[in-house]
């Protein structure tokens, strides 16, 4: 009997451990390309992410089709010709926040892992801030991204002017993960 109680206690503890995962309830990703002829900006509110506060593991998945542009034709070309979203529907990041400390308040952090865009994977390190509150975590980051690193071709005869390096901004708000099972 005693042993069963022990087992139950341990199970309860382990269930608690389970609850250390956080899922993004909102994820906003945008990028900005600054060029002499035209600045281009696109926003995406369909990004998803899960963060494991136990070990700092973090994953992001951003559907390419979720990016919206001011010019609709530009959006079509972004999907059709540049990112090829039919072939590569999501941009992903799988990695770990290396210096993550489980404490409330704001902290600077660095995520290290694999970024996959347009089917091309690269090892990257991204700096950002983590703000842990009672029931939620806010992670945000701003980082440059070289278009050529992900084999995204910018043809010479193109009437838009696209910067070789775009600035990516991301802001995610997480709440504790709840399994639906």
């Amino acid at each position: 009997m005693k042993i069963i109680i022990k087992a139950l206690i341990l199970l309860v503890i382990s269930v608690n451990l389970y609850a250390q995962k956080y899922t993004a309830e909102s994820g906003a990703v945008s990028f900005f390309s600054e060029a002499p002829l035209e600045n281009i900006e696109a926003h995406n509110n369909e990004a998803k992410s899960i963060f494991d506060a136990d070990n700092g593991n973090i994953v992001f998945s951003i559907p390419i089709k979720g990016f919206t542009f001011a010019k609709s034709l530009m959006q079509e070309h972004f999907n059709e010709n540049y990112l090829e979203s039919d072939k590569y529907p999501n941009a992903t990041f799988e990695g770990k926040i290396i210096n993550f400390q489980k404490k409330s308040g704001e902290q600077k952090a660095t995520a290290k892992g694999t970024m996959t865009i347009h089917g091309v994977s690269k090892e990257v390190e991204i700096a950002g801030t983590i703000n842990m509150k009672e029931d939620k975590i806010v992670i945000d980051s701003k980082f440059p991204l070289k278009v050529a690193d992900y084999e995204i071709e910018i043809p010479k005869i193109v009437f838009y002017n696209i910067a070789e390096e775009v600035e990516v901004s991301a802001e995610f708000t997480y709440k504790p993960f709840q399994t639906t099972q």
């Binding site: 341990l10 079509e76 043809p155």
Partner: protein
């Protein structure tokens, strides 16, 4: 027995405590609901070659279309293989909503004014969504040319003709799209008494992308017409789409000289296989008048 219990305990404690790897987390993300997404860019432009595609531009976009059809290639070197004789259509299309577009045009061929209303009824989507895109098109054209016989009783209404189409297309892959175009043509005035004013046609066409920005297009209309008075031919067209950001350049060869539906579907006189082929192009320039 007690040993088993302890083992069980150890397992129960260990299992959830094993940190989820990044891979597992990614799987958790991917198992979340995948919603069907709408298939976009079935064709690069709103025109396949002569006729329309299922595509309309997004709300607030105006398309300026400059189209040329030169003379026949088999006119030989004296007419520079047809390039000495050009017919032109200038057109303006405007998308009122993401589904509804209107357009007007003026062709030098028969001095024709034309206008259309185009409505996207259904858009193909991935997963369990619609398997095809469906667009309705209603066009009207007025021939502005002076009457061949001014002494005859010529009615203004005789200048009018109408073409109605249901465009059905499916993007089979990112490269291959095919389209069917059942059409009804009504001409208020036809050449002979024995002709019917209202006839039907069925078009078939498609595109195949050879690079990300270049595709090969083909288009054919079969015109169901009895008592064909002057041996009108069915229209055949083969061409390329070249897309460069805000422009789509379409270069093609076709046996039709007219660039309005009535003309190319029902009144094409050239025989494609005898070299009565016109070189032509459409230049589409999109302007976003109202940004999102």
């Amino acid at each position: 027995m007690k040993l088993y219990f302890h083992l069980f305990l150890l397992l129960a404690w260990l299992l959830p405590a094993i940190a989820f790897s990044q891979n597992d987390l990614m799987k958790m993300l991917e198992t979340e609901d995948q919603q069907p997404t709408k298939v976009s860019a079935t064709f690069k432009g709103t025109r396949l070659i002569n006729g329309h595609t299922v595509e309309t531009r997004k709300a607030g976009t105006m398309d300026f279309i400059i189209a040329h059809r030169f003379g026949r290639v088999n006119e030989g070197a004296y007419n520079f293989f047809g390039l000495d004789n050009a017919t032109i259509r200038l057109g303006l299309d405007y998308a009122l909503t993401n589904q509804l577009a209107i357009g007007i045009g003026r062709s030098s061929f028969q001095k024709t004014y034309d206008g259309f209303v185009k409505y996207r009824i259904l858009q193909q989507s991935s997963g369990k969504g619609a398997p095809v895109s469906l667009t309705g098109l209603a066009t009207a054209a007025i021939i502005g040319q002076k009457w061949a016989d001014p002494n005859r009783e010529n009615l203004a209404s005789s200048r009018f003709s109408y073409v109605y189409q249901v465009l059905i297309a499916r993007k089979f892959s990112s490269d291959l799209s095919l389209q069917l175009m059942p059409s009804i043509i009504h001409r208020n005035l036809v050449t002979t008494n024995s002709q019917s004013n209202t006839t039907a046609a069925l078009g078939i066409g498609g595109r195949y992308k050879i690079t990300k920005r270049v595709s090969i297009n083909a288009e054919y209309y079969y015109h169901f017409e009895e008592n064909n008075p002057v041996d009108y031919k069915d229209v055949i067209a083969i061409g390329f789409d070249i897309e460069t950001g805000g422009h789509v350049f379409q270069l093609h060869f076709t046996n039709a000289q007219s660039m309005v539906e009535r003309g190319f579907i029902a009144e094409t006189t050239g025989d494609f296989f005898k070299g009565d082929v016109h070189f032509g192009f459409n230049i589409n320039r999109a302007f976003q008048l109202i940004e999102k």
